[in-house]
Structures are given as C-alpha cells and as structure tokens.
C-alpha cells in the first residue's frame, strides 16, 4: 500500500497521468500550471511507461497534437491556464466535432486578457457552454482538492473514451499551487490495443478510418449534430456528479465548486455558530450540471447563495435549475482575489437569509 505524499495539485495531475497510463502529454508553459510539464519532464515517464511528453511551440499546436494523438487512439492530455485555454478553443471544437477523447486541464487564473496569475473561476462559461464554435460540450469536472486533481485524471479518461468526447478538469490557481496529501492509484498499463476507430493504418480487413469535423451536406451534417445532441443528453442523464455537505437540515444553501466550495465549508461553520442553518451543494461535474439535484433541494431550502471567484457565471445554471422557486444570489471576488469565509457569511445574510 502506497503512503500519502505531499504534493502540489499541478504535480499530482502529472503523477496521476503517468499512473493512469496516459500515452502523450503535449503542453506549453503558463503560470500557474507550469509544474505539470516540469514534473513530467523530471519524472522521465518515457522510461517508466513509454509516455511521450512534448513541449509544443504554442497552446494552439499542443491542442492539435492532442487531436492527432487522440485520432490515433491514444490517451492524450494537455494542461494550461486561462489565456492558453482560450487559444485551444478552436482545437477543442475540432476534437469535439471529430468525436475524439482527450483530457485538458485548465488551472484557471484571473482574466480577461492576460489578466493576472492569481486563482480565479472566471472561465466557467467558456468551459461549460462549449467554448469554441459550434454546438458541443466538454465533460467538465471541478476538483476541490489535490487528491481530486489526481483522481479526476482517470475519471476523465474513462468518460472521454466511453463517450468519445473531450474532457476538461476545471481547476484554479489555488488548487494547482497548494500542497496537500495525496494517495495515488497503482500504475496502470498504457493502452496496447487501439480502438477500432483509431487511425493506425488501414488494414485489408476494415474500411479506412477518417477523423474529420467537416460535412458539406447540410442534411447529413444536421444528422451528425443530432447524434451529438443525443450523446450529450445521455451524458446529462448518466454522468452527473456532486457532493452535499450538511444539507440534511439546511434552510439555506451555498452552491460552489472548487476552491470556493472549500471556503464555503468554513463559512457553513461560522454561519451555523450564528444560528443560520446553511449547507453546501458542490457540483463536481460542471457539465453535465446537477440541475435536477439542485432543483430537488428547493423543496427544503429558502434561498441559495452561489459563491464563485467570478462576476457570477455559474449562477445562471443555478437559476435555470431552480426555475424561480427560491431566491438565488451571487457572491464573488474577481481579478485573482479569494473571498474569505466571513465575507461569504456576510453576503449570505445580506442577500439571502437576513439577520
């Protein structure tokens, strides 16, 4: 049995990737996630598992390397932070359009533009609403600990290959940079058998495999889009993940993910000491979003405060979930600032619970 290790979130993703049997990592350095590739290069995964690690010339190249590697049936991933993820949107749209699996890790920093290098959650809309052009979705998981940074690598690859869809770990600079204990899974072997759709060379026993997102016939292309829509519906039905903390007797609810959800746990303690029964609903999958589960909570609670390190992006999904049944308000900090537990309790009182 392996012991716990003390590691940064970024390093945990890297070690987890090697152990998950990832075939290729292609990336470009950007703060605050550069430790991912630094760790991989130092860990010599080529010697450990044969994993390929390559520093690309840009995020644009990196995501298209994923497109190539994924098409070849391999487990491929990249990591970056907000400005770099913006550059990858075109490639993600192509990968979604070609229905290929991959993992992208976004260690979010403050924006817009070059923004700041401090943690933020301001890429929620980009991550969950498609991000690039066209009707598509990434499967998005939001870790709230270094352990989840590690665990979600395998979860994401399983989902990516199950649905042939790109996946995203939406982390942030705090979880990427902070050190916590983490326990890793045993080393998994790399894929040896290529999926039947992989471009590995056309053998006489099969038709050629083609990966493209192009179809110039609109009626055929609509059919393809309808196929994607059916796939997304299935994912929405089957793959929602969330966590409820102290919700059983809650009269009010924080809805928060990632770093914000951790701060909210302290806020719950402070609020309850002051007599406000508040719980936390933590969406783990940001797409598919736990709409039904949040709506179910409205039978029990009087109001919701969404806490995000953004100007209020996830609140739109919460509003859509509750369909006006309870009051919903947002509290957030932007530009790389992190809310304190006290600020959040104050916001809960002012905007939702009173008192």
């Amino acid at each position: 049995m392996e012991e716990f290790q003390l590691m940064k979130g970024n390093e945990a993703v890297a070690e987890a990737a090697i152990r998950a049997g990832v075939d290729g990592y292609f990336g470009y350095p950007i703060t605050p996630q550069s430790e991912v590739m630094e760790y991989l290069m130092a860990a010599k995964p080529h010697e450990r598992t044969g994993m390929v690690v390559l520093q690309a010339e840009s995020e644009v190249a990196a995501i298209n390397m994923l497109y190539g590697g994924a098409g070849a049936g391999k487990k491929v991933m990249t990591s970056s932070s907000s400005p770099g993820i913006s550059l990858m949107q075109e490639g993600l749209s192509y990968i979604a359009g070609a229905e290929l699996p991959c993992l992208v890790v976004n260690v979010v920093r403050g924006g817009p533009g070059l923004g700041t290098i401090q943690p933020s959650q301001c890429d929620y809309n980009q991550a969950t609403k498609g991000g690039g052009h066209g009707d598509y979705h990434l499967i998005v998981l939001a870790p709230a600990s270094v352990q989840e940074m590690a665990d979600f690598v395998t979860v994401c690859f399983d989902l990516a290959f199950k649905y042939r869809n790109p996946t995203l770990i939406l982390s942030d600079g705090a979880i990427g940079q902070m050190m916590e204990k983490v326990k890793f899974a045993e080393q998994k072997p790399r894929l040896t058998k290529a999926p039947k759709w992989a471009t590995t060379g056309k053998t006489p026993d099969r038709e050629r495999n083609i990966h493209t997102s192009l179809d110039l016939d609109p009626s055929r292309h609509e059919k393809f889009n309808e196929k994607l829509i059916r796939k997304y519906k299935e994912i929405e039905e089957k793959e929602v993940r969330y966590e409820k903390i102290l919700c059983d007797d809650a009269e009010y609810l924080f809805v928060a993910y990632g770093t914000s959800s951790r701060i909210c746990q302290k806020s719950i303690q402070l609020a309850r000491e002051g007599g406000i029964k508040v719980g936390l609903f933590r969406p783990i999958t940001l797409w598919p979003y736990p709409k039904k589960e949040i709506r179910a909570m409205t039978n029990q609670i009087k109001g919701i405060l969404t806490v995000e390190m953004s100007a209020g992006q996830m609140i739109e999904d919460v509003l859509l979930s509750v369909e006006g049944k309870v009051k919903v308000a947002h509290y957030g900090r932007t530009g790389g600032m992190i809310p304190t537990p006290e600020e959040i309790v104050e916001a809960l009182k002012q905007k939702i619970s009173g008192g």
Binding site: N64, G68, A98, G201, R208
Partner: protein
Amino acid sequence: MAETSSSNDIVREENLVYAKTKVLTDNVMHYCPGCGHGTTHRLVAEVIEELGIQSDTIGVAPVGCSVLMYNYMDIDMQEAAHGRAPALATAIKRLLPEKYVFTYQGDGDLAAIGTSETIHACNRGENFTIIFINNGIYGMTGGQMAPTTLPNMKTSTSPYGRDVKMMGNPLKMTELVATLPGTCFVTRQSVHSPANVRKARKAIKKAFEYQNLKQGISFVEIVSNCSSGWKMTPLQSNEWMVENMFPFYPLGDIKIPEVQVEQKEGDVLHNSLNQIDKDSKQVKY
C-alpha cells in the same frame, strides 16, 4: 466509345502497363480540370502502394482545396484545423513511431496560418513527410492572395498585382525549412509534364523512405497551377507556371540526407555527405 476496334486485342489484363492505383478510391475528385492536386494525390497513393505501406500510413489533410483528400485516399486520415496538420502529425508519429505519417498542405495552410506549426515541426526534426502544394493563390476561397503569390501577380485581394511594398514579399518556405537542422530532405518538384511527374513521384517515394532514417522531416514542395484562380485554361496555367513560377521557385533538390555510412575498417561511423541518390542535384541557396 473512346476505344477503337483494333485496340481490343491490346486492352487485356496481361497487357496492362498503367492503371489508377487501388490506394485511390473511385470517388471523382472535386478539383477543377487540370489541377495538380489530383496528380499529386495519385502520386502519393502510388508511392504508398509501391512501398506496400497502406496499412502503416496515416495522412493528415489540411484546410484548403485539398480538405477532402480523405475522400480520395484509401488510407487512414485525419482532417486538421487550418494550418495545424504538422501538429497532428507530430503527435501521431511520436505515438506511432513505426508508422508512416504525412501531411498534405497548401500554401495558405502551410505558409500562412500554419507557419509556426510547419517551422517548429521541421525544427524539432519530426520524422514525417510534408507534401506542400504551392500554387501561389487561395483556390478554395476564390482566388485570394497567398503568402507565395508572386510579386505583381493579380489575385482577388491584390487585383492590381501584388505590390510587395504594401503587401509584403512572397515567402519561400521550402528554402527556409531547408536551413533548419531538423529537415533531412527538402525538394521542389512539379507535376505538369510526364517527365516532371516521374521526378516528383521519385521525390515523394524518397520522402516516405527517408522517414526510416529518423533524421527529420522530408519536405516535398510541388509547384502547381490553379487555372480557376489564375483565370486561365489548364494548359495556359501550366505554361504560365513554367514561365513565371519556376524562375521564382526553381525546381530541384535543396537538401538531401546525410547518411551514416559504415567504414570498411574499424567501427567508426561517420557522417558522410554521400548522396543516397547520385541523380540528385543539390541546388545551392
């Protein structure tokens, strides 16, 4: 209809000397009459058949006129985003190093939007082949200026001719990548005449074979025509190409591989400039 009665004795399986390769599908290509894309597709397919590597070859199609290349090649292919074919090919080759990988790119794809991917794949010394079709114009979008458009050449976005002071100079990507240590074979060919087709075919074959040297990119530029974009008949466009494109983009090998030759005595391997193909004429740049 097109045959004569006397040819019936000759048109028999045992007398066949040339037929379309089976590595091409039966789909009718969408290219304009006389377009060099069709010929070059066929040459790539013929080389794949000749080398017997159909089941070991992965191609990457570009965005541009040849975006639908995968409809015509009976091989596994991926269709890249505009300019990103070398990035896809980099990953495919690194993850499947025993396979043959090639990109097929036009001048907009390779020399404008994908310049970065092209140069860095070449500079890293990736072991795949790049087939680069240069016709000095954007055919698919309707004849706009390309990075390789000649000075004073008229296009729909340089309707009075390419004014290099205003629009910049044509980019000689092939000479440029030849200067990089990561390319092993760099050549410029054309497919407008039987003799040139034979040379281009040889070059493409070598380019694929050189992937086994693991000395970097093998890069084949095909200077081609665009009768629609140039607003000429196919024959006129080929003549115009010979008169105007070739002086600016001269044909020939620009760089040939350094091959490791084993010495007869001792165990010293040394880098030799011995030419793999003595027919190759090295053009100084």
